[in-house]
């Protein structure tokens, strides 16, 4: 409803109560998407835990379901820090998190420090075959007990992504695929691509996160986030 906020006061006064009702109706249905939703009265996402990121994401947060791609030039650039608040809320809602072929071993003390109960975490080891990994990802989407699926797969064909996207949508689950390379013209049904770039030496803890593509955004938006703020007290 950006267009209305920029309109003259007199016009708004004329529209009066009616517009309020219309807004209410429009916002009540998350499936209804409007091109100008960017400033987002409709906040139907999981909050990311980072206010700057919330403000540039449609729906004021991570999508509730579907597939998301996180692109970082190397593993370990802070991509998991971005998702920690989401993981915490998934675990607290009693659901499980499935990690599929993470590049290094997942270190339980760090997760406990972040307030994540490791009893509800399942790890499919890295040396499982790609086919098995994708199969377990799809199965996890179909189970209601899995709230979040994290997968590390560098290259996936468009049809596979489309299939996973459908499974995630129907299963009402959010899947995150971590990639190292960005393919601009990939036919991926990806909703979000977040890119972290290098920094100046004196800004140690901020990372640049870019939303390359998201349903509801017209152009890439980027912001700087202090990812490790909670760690260095």
């Amino acid at each position: 409803m950006n267009s209305y906020t920029s309109a003259p006061d007199s016009l708004q006064a004329k529209v009066g109560n009616a517009s309020g009702h219309i807004d209410q109706l429009l916002n009540s249905n998350p499936n209804l998407w409007r091109g100008c939703d960017m400033a987002g009265q409709g906040s139907h996402g999981h909050s990311t835990g980072f206010s700057q990121l919330d403000s540039i994401l449609p729906g004021k947060g991570w999508p509730q379901k579907g597939l998301m791609e996180v692109i970082s030039p190397q593993w370990g650039m802070g991509e998991l820090q971005l998702l920690l608040p989401l993981m915490r809320s998934v675990i607290d809602s009693g659901k499980w998190i499935l990690w599929i072929s993470p590049p290094h071993s997942v270190y339980a003390p760090a997760l406990v420090q972040a307030g994540i109960d490791t009893n509800q975490i399942l790890v499919v080891k890295m040396d499982a075959s790609c086919k098995d990994a994708l199969w377990s990802m799809e199965k996890a989407f179909q189970t209601e007990n899995c709230g979040l699926v994290l997968a590390w797969q560098n290259w996936l064909p468009g049809t596979v992504l489309r299939r996973l996207q459908l499974a995630a949508d129907t299963g009402n689950t959010l899947g995150v695929i971590f990639k190292q390379n960005e393919c601009k013209h990939s036919p991926s049904p990806t909703r979000l691509q977040i890119k972290e770039s290098s920094l100046q030496k004196d800004h140690f803890s901020t990372a640049e996160v870019t939303v390359l593509k998201a349903r509801g955004n017209f152009r890439p938006l980027s912001t700087n986030i202090d990812l490790y703020s909670h760690q260095l007290a």
Partner: protein, 541 residues
């Protein structure tokens, strides 16, 4: 004479009793021809049926009448036979008993007395499983087993051979349990008599019931397993041996020592029946199917698997059991069979669930040759617990069904990926970073609420990376700057970890949090030992 008399009376009484019914059916049979000729044949059939019904009723009434009239009589017959039968067990053998009274062989294991109750039970069950090879009736007693051997004496060719066979089996079982292999044994026509003889350590054989009294009489009184107080009282009465008790009047003993004491003695002498708790071998299910032709395609095997699983589920339902461990074998020509073991997180007896798992296993399975036969063996069973649904669900799945879904999901994952690829993680109270996190089997998860607090205490307070490298990577030091992929600058530290000097892998390190020029945050350390090299140990990611 009495029997024929009563049945005659009954047969006379019955027609008068049933006549109203019979006449009424006759009436309907008469009415039927009036209604129409087409019905006549069916009505005739009807009347036939009615007549046969009356016949069976008569038979039933006769039977019932005999049963009722026989209440007084049955006692009389049993008295004349001189064969008291209060026990259902002995009732079934009562006919054979006339010719051959049973012989009980007791084995007494004093060494098991050091174990606790549960271990004793397990040990005796294991020993009974061995003893069942010589006798079909093996019963449990305190620290002892008693087998009925009269029926198997002929088969084994005498008691000596039978004893040798049993001794071999029991000795190996005892050695397997880390127990001394000796035991006491005795045989007599009564269960308690054999037990008393064995407990006294007299490895004796008494064939005749009439000799039992003199054989038992020489036993010391403390074999009776009485309380301290009772033992003391017996001693004060001047009783040292069992024969001393037999000299005393029965009524007086019953008054002073209770009827249990007297019953025990009567049982030992064969004057009273003794019911026994018999060993039942654990159930096993096995089913196999020979294919009429060789099969390469495992999907074609699924209908047969479905049938076998159907048999298994019938088996489980009839015994009210469930299972969590299935073993399939696929047989090939001239090759060793392919074995598929399916373990479930939770016991089940749902055929659809089993079939789904087998399908998932088959999907991943490559067989070395065509399949010619398939078999299923199930040895482990558990009691069946049915699930209950909440009364008011409001369309939401309740906790148990969610739990079920989760279990099914994990079993499917395990079936496809294998145990080694699917892991949970947990914290370990350990200062060395590489041992502070452990991969655990997903089955062994404990309830989260109870463990949560203890975990919080186990974890280090300083920041730890989410990813830990299995093997630390050495960093390059150039012009007093550190490089990994790019230049590294240290943000905070050091955190000194210096421990486990008593173990093989001692740790003397200073840990730092560092940042690479490309933005990733690293956990690096410097060895405090000789070379003071730098290593990368983890990513904060």
């Amino acid at each position: 004479m009495e029997e024929t008399k009563t049945s005659g009376q009954l047969s006379l009484a019955i027609p008068s009793k049933d006549s109203p019914e019979a006449t009424s059916t006759q009436m309907t049979a008469k009415k039927a021809p009036e209604a129409g000729a087409s019905l006549s044949s069916s009505s005739l059939l009807n009347s036939n049926l009615v007549l046969s019904c009356v016949d069976t009723q008569i038979n039933q009434n006769q039977a019932a009448g005999v049963g009722l009239a026989g209440v007084g009589k049955a006692v009389a017959t049993s008295k004349t036979n001189g064969n008291p039968s209060s026990n259902s067990n002995s009732n079934s053998n009562s006919n054979s008993k006339k010719s051959r009274p049973s012989l009980w062989y007791a084995v007494y294991f004093p060494q098991l007395g050091t174990l606790d109750d549960l271990q004793q039970k397990d040990a005796l069950t294991a020993l009974a499983a061995k003893a069942i090879s010589v006798s079909s009736t093996v019963s449990f007693h305190k620290l002892a087993l008693v087998c009925e051997i009269r029926s198997s004496l002929g088969y084994f060719g005498g008691i000596n051979l039978l004893h040798d066979k049993l001794k071999g089996a029991l000795s190996t079982a005892l050695i397997a349990m880390d127990q001394p292999e000796h035991f006491f044994y005795a045989s007599s026509p009564t269960v308690s008599g054999s037990l008393l003889l064995a407990r006294a350590g007299q490895n004796k054989l008494v064939y005749q019931k009439s000799n039992l009294r003199s054989a038992l009489g020489t036993l010391p009184a403390d074999v009776l397993n009485l309380s301290k107080e009772q033992n003391r009282r017996l001693y004060n009465m001047g009783i040292r041996h069992l024969k001393d008790i037999w000299r005393l009047p029965g009524d007086g003993i019953r008054k002073r020592f209770g009827s249990e004491f007297v019953d025990q003695l009567n049982k030992a002498l064969g004057k009273a029946q003794e019911p026994t708790l018999n060993y039942l071998p654990p159930p096993t299910f096995s089913s196999s199917y020979d294919l009429p032709y060789e099969l390469e395609n495992l999907d074609r095997l699924l209908p047969i698997v479905d049938e076998i699983i159907g048999q298994l589920c019938d088996f489980l339902t009839r015994r009210d059991l469930s299972t969590s461990h299935l073993m399939f074998s696929l047989f090939h020509e001239k090759r060793s069979p392919t074995c598929i073991e399916i373990s479930l997180r939770q016991t089940s007896r749902s055929s659809t669930h089993f079939l789904l798992l087998v399908e998932t296993y088959f999907h991943n399975l490559t067989i070395p040759a065509a399949v010619i036969a398939i078999s299923l063996v199930v040895n482990q069973f558990d009691a069946f617990f049915s699930h209950t649904d909440a009364l008011l669900l409001d369309g939401r799945p309740d906790a148990t069904s969610r739990e079920n879904n989760l279990n099914q999901f994990m079993e499917q994952l395990k079936a496809r990926l294998g145990d080694n690829y699917l892991k949970g993680i947990s914290c370990v109270a350990e200062h060395r970073p590489e041992y502070a996190s452990a991969c655990v089997d997903v089955n062994s998860h404990t309830k989260k609420s109870s463990i949560r607090k203890s975990i919080q205490n186990k974890v280090a307070t300083r920041p730890r990376p989410i990813w830990l490298l299995e093997k630390p990577e050495e960093l390059v030091e150039k012009n007093s700057r550190l490089y990994h992929r790019k230049a590294i600058s240290i943000i905070s530290g050091p955190e000194r970890i210096e421990t486990a000097w008593w173990a093989d892998h001692d740790v003397r390190r200073d840990y730092y949090i560092a940042q690479e020029a490309n933005g990733s945050r690293l956990w690096i350390y410097r060895e405090r030992s000789d070379e003071r090299r730098w290593f990368l140990h983890g990513y904060f990611s």
